[in-house]
Every structure is written in C-alpha cells, then in structure tokens.
Symmetry: C2
Subunit: 487 residues, 2 copies
Amino acid sequence: MPSSSSDSTEGGDVALQSLNAFFNPRSVAVIGATETLGFGHVPTKNILSHQGVKTYLVNVKGGRVMGVDVFRSVRELPEAVDLAVIMVPSGSVLEVVKECAERGIRHAIIESAGFSETGEAGARLEREVVAVARANNMRVIGPNCVGVVNTSNMFTTADVDVATLVKGGVALIAQSGVFGTALVDRACSEGLGLSKVVTLGNKCDVDEVDVVEYLADDEETKVIGLYVEGVKPGRGRRMVEVFRVASARKPILVLKSGRTEAGSRAVRSHTGSLAGSDRIFDAAVRQSGAIRVESIDELFYTAMVLASQPLPHDGDVAILTNSGSLGAMMCDELESLGVKLAALLPETVDGLKKVAPPWASCRNPVDVGPAIIESALPAVELLGRDPNVGSMIMIFGIPGIVSSPRYFGADLTPFFEILGEAASKAGKPTVVLGFGDERIIKMAEKGFGKSHIPVLRNLTLTARAIATLYKYKKIKEKNLTSKSPGE
Amino acid sequence: MPSSSSDSTEGGDVALQSLNAFFNPRSVAVIGATETLGFGHVPTKNILSHQGVKTYLVNVKGGRVMGVDVFRSVRELPEAVDLAVIMVPSGSVLEVVKECAERGIRHAIIESAGFSETGEAGARLEREVVAVARANNMRVIGPNCVGVVNTSNMFTTADVDVATLVKGGVALIAQSGVFGTALVDRACSEGLGLSKVVTLGNKCDVDEVDVVEYLADDEETKVIGLYVEGVKPGRGRRMVEVFRVASARKPILVLKSGRTEAGSRAVRSHTGSLAGSDRIFDAAVRQSGAIRVESIDELFYTAMVLASQPLPHDGDVAILTNSGSLGAMMCDELESLGVKLAALLPETVDGLKKVAPPWASCRNPVDVGPAIIESALPAVELLGRDPNVGSMIMIFGIPGIVSSPRYFGADLTPFFEILGEAASKAGKPTVVLGFGDERIIKMAEKGFGKSHIPVLRNLTLTARAIATLYKYKKIKEKNLTSKSPGE
C-alpha cells in the first residue's frame, strides 16, 4: 500500500484515498453472486476464496452460493462494506447503486454491461448511475469491466486464475474486461510480473487519469502501461498534469486505438468511447512525458524491460552477437529509432581481440560467431567496463544441435546464468534477443532470469524497448532539471 | 525434384540443371570430415547418416571417422561425386577446389570461413577459388556458409537437427550459416514447414538470383523467403528479370539489412557485402514484383500465411473477435496498411444478430464478446458466405480460466477444429490471432492446425500478413494481365 504522499499535490492525496479501497478493501459485497457457470461465477469464487477480505454475497434469489449464505439485498448487510462488486443485469444496476449509497458504501465496481456502449438508452441509464454516485460521494469503476487485480494482497474482482498471478512492477490499465483479462493471462503465461491491473470499462467515473494519479504513488508499481480507446471530454488538460507528475517518478507507456477512421468506428461500438483526434492526443501524451507505443506487443515487452532494467548509463548501445545477420538487422532498427551504437574504446577492442578468434568482428556490433560460448563472458565484462557503453543487447542465435539430445545435448542454462551475472554486475541495462531453437531460448530465459534480465524473441521490439529506455532517461533528466529551482 | 521446365527461359533451364546437384546429389564427398566436436562435425554426421546418398569422407589425416574409412585426398576417390562439401581450413580450400576440378566434380559447397569477409587477402583467395571453378564449369555455394537443406529427401549439409525438420512449402535463402541455421531451428520450433534452405555465405558464385531462378521451378516450394545483405555488383538487372518471372508463379518475400549507415557497416564486416543504396534496391524489388518485408518476424509469419492460405477472394477483410479492443487495434493496423474492412451484406448482419447476443456488435469487426463459444461457428459460416468478404481474421482473447483446471478446465481444441473446418470450407484465406493465455493458444494451434490455418500471436504481423496476401494477389493479377497478349 502506498505510504508516503508528502510529495504529491492535494488533489493527488484525495485521489489516493479515494481509490485505495478498490485494491485493498477490508470488506466486500458481491452483488449478483452466483454459482452458475457464466457471468459472475469467477469473481464470486475469487473474492470468496480470498482469506484477507470479509466477503458478503448478495443475490435477490437468496439461498446459498458456494456453500455460503446469501443476503437478498444490500440493505440486509450487517455493515457498510468498503467495496461493492456489482454483477446484476443492467436493468437492476441503478437500484443496487442506490441501495449501496444508502448503506454508506463509497466504492463500487460495476461489471455489468449494457450501458453507454449499447446506445442512447444505455447512456441515459449510465448517467443516472453516475448522478447517484456523485450525490453520495461514491467512486465507481465501470460499468462493462472486470474491475481490478492487486498482486500485493492477491485481491481480484476479475475473471483471472489467481494461482497463476506473478507479482512484479508493472501496472496495467485497460478498458474492457475481455482485453484486460487477456492481458493478465498473457502476463501470467510469459512471467511478466504485475503490481495492479484495472479495467475501466465505460469509465462513467474513475478513468485512466485517476488511476495513473493513484499508481504514481504506489510503491509496488515501477511502470504504468495504459491501453486507452479515448479520453473523456474535458479531461485532456488534467491528463497532461497528472501524467507529467507521474512520469517524473515512473515511466508511463500509452497505447491508444482508434488511430484511424476504421479503428475509431470500432471503439465507438466497443466502449462508447470517442477516439477523438489522434493528433491532439499524441501531442498531449508527448507534452506530458508519457511515452506512446505502437502495438500491444511493444507495450508488453517494453514494460517488461523498463520494470526489470536500470536506466542507461551515459553512453550508447553495445551489441554482442553470434550472428552477424541479426547484428546487422539490430543496427538498422536502432539507427531507425535514433539510438546510437557505442564507439568502443581502443582498449575494449584490443581486449576483445584477445578473447575472440581472429575472424571475429570486434567492433560494435561485436560478432564472435560460433565462438560465442568461449568469448561471451569476457566480452560482456569488457563491454560492461567501457564507459562509452551505456546499455547492452545480447543476441543469441545458437544452433539447436548444441542442446539437442541427438547431437551435443548441452545445457546452456549455466552459461546464460553466468553471463547474466556479469551483465548485472556492470549495472547497465541489458536485454537479450533469443532467436531460433526454442529449447535454447527457454534455457536463456531460465539463466538470465536469475539476474532479472529479460529475454525477448522479437528483434524489432528489442530495439524499441532499448530506445524507450533512452527516451525515458531523457524525460526524467528533463523533469529533474525543470524542477530543480522550484523544489 | 522439379520436373517440368517447359515454361522457363533457356537461361532458367541451365540454372535449374546447374543447381540441382546441390539439393539432390547421388554421391557426396565430405572434405575435412571430422569426428572432433566443432566445425565440420555435424555436417559429417548428417551427410553420413543419410541413407540415399553415397558418401565418401576425405581428410588429410586419413584413418576412420564415425566408423568409416577416410580418403586422404579427393584424388583417391573412386568416382567423380555429384557434390563436394568442403570444410578444410581456408588456407587449404584453393588446393582442394583444384583437386575437385581435376576429378571432374561440378558442384562444391565451401563451408569454411576466412575469405572476403576478413579483408583483402581473403578476398584475393576467394577470387582465385572462383577462377578455378569458372575455368572448370564448377558451381560453388559459399564460402562462409552451411550450404543447403532439402526436406524432400532430408539431405542437408548444415548444422541442423535432421529429426526436427518439418516438410512444407517455404524455401528460405539466407547469407550466413549461423543465421540460416537459426532460421531453420526457429522453423522447426514453430512448425513452419520448409521445402529448401540455402545459406549463400559470401556468394563467390551462386547468389540469390540463381537460387530464386531454381526455386521458381521447384514444385515443392510455394513461397520464397529471402534474407539478403547486398546484391553483387552488376546483378541488379538480372535480379529484376528473374524475380519477375518467379513472382508470377509464387510470392517472393525479401528482407534486406544494411538499410541504414550502421547496418551497412555491420554487413560489410559480416559477409563482405556492399549493402548498396537501399533506395535503388527497394525500387528494383518493387519493379520485380517481389515483396519487401520489414523484419525477420514479418518474413517468417507472412511466409507461413502465404504458404498455407489461398489468395483472397474479391472482397475485403472480415474480423471476428471476442475482444473489442483487439478488434479496434486490428482495424487501425489494417487501415494503416491500406487494407479495407468488408462492408457486410445486410443479410449477413441480420444473420449475425440472430446468432449473437443483443449486446454483440454485428458490424465488421464482429465482436461477440464472451458469447464467442456459442456464436463463433455460425458467424464464421455467415462471413464465409458473404461475397463482400474476401478473407477472414479471427481474434481470440479467451480468458485462461476457461481452460484452467482450477476453474472450468475446458478443452477448446474441438471448438477451434470445427471453426477451422468451417473457414476452410469457405475457401477464403483465414488467419487467427491468439492473444492471452498460452494454454488456449496452443489449443488453437492444434485445432486450427488440422485445417492448416496459422495461429499467430502478434497483432501487427497478423495484419501485415493479410495485407501481403492482398498485395500478392494484385501482383499476380497484374502479371497475368501483362502477359496475356504475349503468352
């Protein structure tokens, strides 16, 4: 739980208090709790099985659900819970929200769909819900979402497999529940550590601006990744203010859809969002110090790199590879992104010549070809010591026969582990590109994983992640400079 | 083996005959054969264990290697073999090539490195090798490569695990051996079916123009994927001619590195290639009807899609998704690439409304949200029948809890299999994007695999592959039109 708020604005403090119960409720009412397989089942199960939260189930049908007595109405609850999770049909939501307000409940997640995303009637209903919430100082996430995930207490209102959640530094904000769930699933499958996840749905109240403000103070969150379909009218200026303050502390990655005419039409029928002018959005993001990414995979892997690696030292990128072709392609990508290759010191080149075979290329990219197993460790140490090197990319396209039981059957995990330690010791951000045989890439993941060095499989995204490390370094330095006289 | 050459030019016929022994030799001499772990070991083992090829091992040291008697010199061989695979140190290569020429050997793969990629002395040596080869009507692949893979007879001179090779329609041409090997390994790991692979190394004789000419007539090759670091001086015009003829029959995907200053420097020290002006290369490729791709992943997955899917019907793309966000992002990508979304017929939309829940979006993209399991099959059938739909993208971001044994534990493989059958029956090219839980994506791969429908994990590359299907359709139509009067 975020503890310090000494450096936040007053507005920040209010938002912080205000959203905290969504992630750390002591008591929860699950309204529309159900054992029936379908909408509502998994949140009911996940919330109910959480040991640290006092949970009440509510359903007009009464009876028992998952072995627990069910209250017929919010009115019957013995206490005003911290959080109401509402999963009743859209036609009943307004009534439930009123009851919650009357009971003094101040936080609600409305998972039900059937609001502004469906047309004018739904939009009207949504406005009525908001009016009740506003009048009663109630914060609402949704509707049309699956709410939150918090890995620090493993509390979730979402359709996710709690047992597979991996704790980490990346917070994700999505709009719809389906996509938010798929993002969490992907993070679980690929071992991306998450801190908090919020799906905002139609954003009738809480929006990405509120959540970023909250996450800026969240100590467990190192990187904020944001997928957005549109910003609510009138929130642009506040977005820039909040993102600017947050960006000074941690990187914010923004992926927006509705960039094109076809995309805009699609988001309108999805969450009722107005994608707005992409050019204006882009300018606002740029101004705020947040970083726009171009694809969901870029969001995913860049967040992975930012959360695990330090910022670059002064100096440019050094590439160590066993494949000249992959090295050349990486050079192309980096130069296209405006990232420079480090000019290695003469003593580094001389050192490399001593540890690499005569046919190796000891300039940057350092291409040791088939001598990778013998040469990689001293090469990493030399590059790590070179003050012109600010970050490192290691590229491994090691033939599958090396680990195939039908050929050499070598376990390369210890090799990668030692390289990871050496890179880690240098303290410079390092990203590994694994290309080719999947067994060997898995060994790389395991070996480098010990030093929290990410292994990516996509060359373009590896280059883009490194570029973003440099970009964020500049944003942070600029922020510090512009603040130094005032703070 | 390519049989018909009735429709090729005379030059084509010569090239065809000329390269065939590289892929289908009846007899091979492995020169520099060795049991020692390291350079030469795996090719020796792979060639020796091939049942259909008469293999002679040659090594100046004589003795026995892998249980087989070794000849001390090419001169001692009992016959003029179809193919010599040369793996001796660079200093001995010229002598070996001379001996091969004297014995009447007409095809040699030189795997040894230490030639033009190392500087002027190596370049001189390489020129001397070429002079001997030319004077003796010998074709040479290499030096500085690992030669070939042919999955139709499982013959290979490369450092690959023969047991994992998957037969299929994609031919790959790479420059260096390390990268070519990594490409083959990746294809094996991801189940991309290969026909033939060639690594060209320094291209002292055989280059990509020769190989594309050969592969244009190869019946097993449906798609040619080419990674190139530079075209040999003076070969530009012939490249355009050959690629144009080949493109009329099968798509050629071209990835070139050395696009930038940094990339050019890297390729120079890698295979001694001059990357040349990227703009001129780009124009030449465009003129020839080959399709340039931007990344190795794009080459890989686009080849997978082109090899497995028919060309689009008249009509545009239909998207079926359970995630509105992923649908919107796909719209953005497609529009950015100039690919249009199909305007569905009113009867299709009406049909979709009948099979989808009221809150589903029945325009294109068709977003059925959590109703995907019930609605997908009738939706695919409806889209398949709509004449405005020329191709389909299915997007699945199905929550992991559906298949998790801790929750619903469903096996979705049969579901995906039925969808694949329905899409296949429609005869329209279909690509699946799997996003989220890896267990479910693997089920999709298995289910759709039965209908040879590829499942990709990257949204951008899915869109790019679909765009390339349309692009190639246009190229083919243009080619047919421009030829019709003359042929």
